[in-house]
């Protein structure tokens, strides 16, 4: 069941008016232009004990992704493929609004948006992960851990996921006599990422479109649109969020802006981890 949030901080009307009057002159509360993103900081391999990981800051938003590659059983309808599992935890140290407990609708939504963008573009070569097709495959557990929520969790999670997966090594599993996969020393290689996919979010506030919204901007926005792209500009997922509505023209403009922002993210990622451009 989904319930209208009653604990969100109410943004006073006067504050919303201030934000709008700033937007009118092309400015935002933190000094950015409407299409600017905050400073992005990427630390790959932050968690040494994971098989892949990345810590990503966008402004004050902090997201840590850790990847573990472990044995599992394939889905009956896809017996010769490994499995990508994307999970998100909004742990309570990240925000006064987050409570301990199982993931809420926002965490599930975020995980599923990221998951769909990678799944639908077949970004990961899952066939490579079928150690014993039909019997034993490898599961790529991609855990998104939100450490500080200052808005735009989806984009930070998308960047951290892409970097962590790009840097994921595949442990060396071998099947023993009893039919279990046993981990051996060393790694078999790195996870094959056939396509890079990113997600960029644009908020509509009044009649303005802003890139990389802060938490406060999220609260005052009418609606947000998260758009996933592969590097060639193909749309690879979309999600309208928020209790407001958008017109057809809004959507065109927001997709355009999301694509501009995506290119910035791809560029930040390339700088951070030296990913070669896609062929």
């Amino acid at each position: 069941m989904s319930v209208t949030p009653s604990t969100y901080p109410l943004v006073p009307k006067i504050q919303k008016d201030t934000i709008l009057s700033l937007l009118e002159v092309g400015k935002r509360a933190d000094g950015r232009g409407l299409e600017d993103i905050r400073k992005v900081k990427i630390i790959p391999n932050y968690i040494e004990k994971s098989d892949g990981s990345a810590l990503v800051n966008i402004g004050d938003t902090v997201v840590l992704v850790g990847v573990k590659v472990e044995p599992g059983t394939p889905y009956p309808d896809l017996p010769d493929e490994g499995i990508l599992m994307v999970n998100a935890e909004f742990v309570p140290l990240a925000s006064p609004l987050f409570e301990p407990g199982p993931p809420d609708e926002n965490a599930y939504e975020l995980a599923r948006i990221i998951d769909r963008s990678f799944r639908e573009t077949k970004s990961i070569d899952l066939k490579e992960l079928a150690v014993q097709p039909g019997q034993k495959v490898l599961v790529v557990w991609n855990d998104i851990y939100v450490l500080n929520h200052s808005g735009n969790l989806i984009d930070a999670s998308a960047i951290a996921t892409l970097v962590a997966l790009a840097r994921t090594k595949i442990p060396n599993y071998e099947m023993n006599e009893e039919g279990y996969l046993v981990k051996k020393e060393g790694y078999k290689g790195t996870l094959k990422l056939t396509k890079k996919v990113i997600t960029a979010t644009v908020a509509k506030i009044g009649k303005y479109y802003v890139a990389d919204p802060t938490e406060e901007e999220e609260y005052v926005s009418d609606a947000r649109l998260s758009v996933s792209f592969t590097e060639d500009g193909t749309i690879a997922g979309m999600q309208k969020m928020g209790a407001g509505s958008l017109e057809e023209g809004d959507i065109d403009a927001m997709v355009d802006l999301a694509w501009k922002v995506s290119q910035k993210y791809f560029s930040e990622i390339s700088t951070a981890i030296g990913l070669p451009p896609q062929e």
């Binding site: 609708e105 749309i235 969020m241 997709v255």
Partner: protein
Amino acid sequence: MGKTGLKLIDENGIRIDGRKPDQLRPISMDVGVLKNAQGSALVSYGKTTVLAAVYGPREALPRHMTLPDRAILRVRYHMAPFSTTERKSPAPTRREVELSKVIRESLEASVFTELYPRTTIDIFIEVLQADGGTRTTSLTAASMALADAGIPMKDLIAGVAVGKVNGKLVLDINEAEDSGGEADMPVAMMPNLGKIVLLQLNGTLTRDEFKEAMKMSIKAIKEIYLIQKQTLRDKYAKMTEEEKEE
């Protein structure tokens, strides 16, 4: 060909269920179908059948969980265990949690919640049979249940899913097209206001395909809107008649 290598459209552009690419499935609607709820609606798009019921505005939550300036919406999208190809456990899945959220946000855009401060409006949606497009059928049904309950709205909401199968855009996809296709894009809007309240894309589309898919969905939503209005008008006429007879 689609993901599964299935041929979902033949050489004449005809889909596996005999439809043309831009053709809706047969749509049926009824309102006031449940006795206890304040409002209810039963809507089918082809084999996809959804029952929605509205309770409220009522005092359902402890005071500190309500809002001083408007009603709280509680929305549950839920699939019956027998609605799916394989039996589904009745416990809510992550997918059902997400869809409950996007449906709630869509409905919040249409309901005048500020008319009922400190109350709760419950919208319970049960997918009785799932054959593609369940979230958009659900929104169409939920909106009619709200109308049947007499809750003021800016406009009705109607929705439809556009898909891409074998490289072609098709309207109102069914399950086979969804699972064998390249994209599923559910769209819902307040048709008379031209406001989009739900938009998701699961799959890949080029920018041009996306624009074309938006156009297809908007056109179809307007058709569905006419059926919604006619259904409500008929119901109202029937009620008035029954009142006269008494």
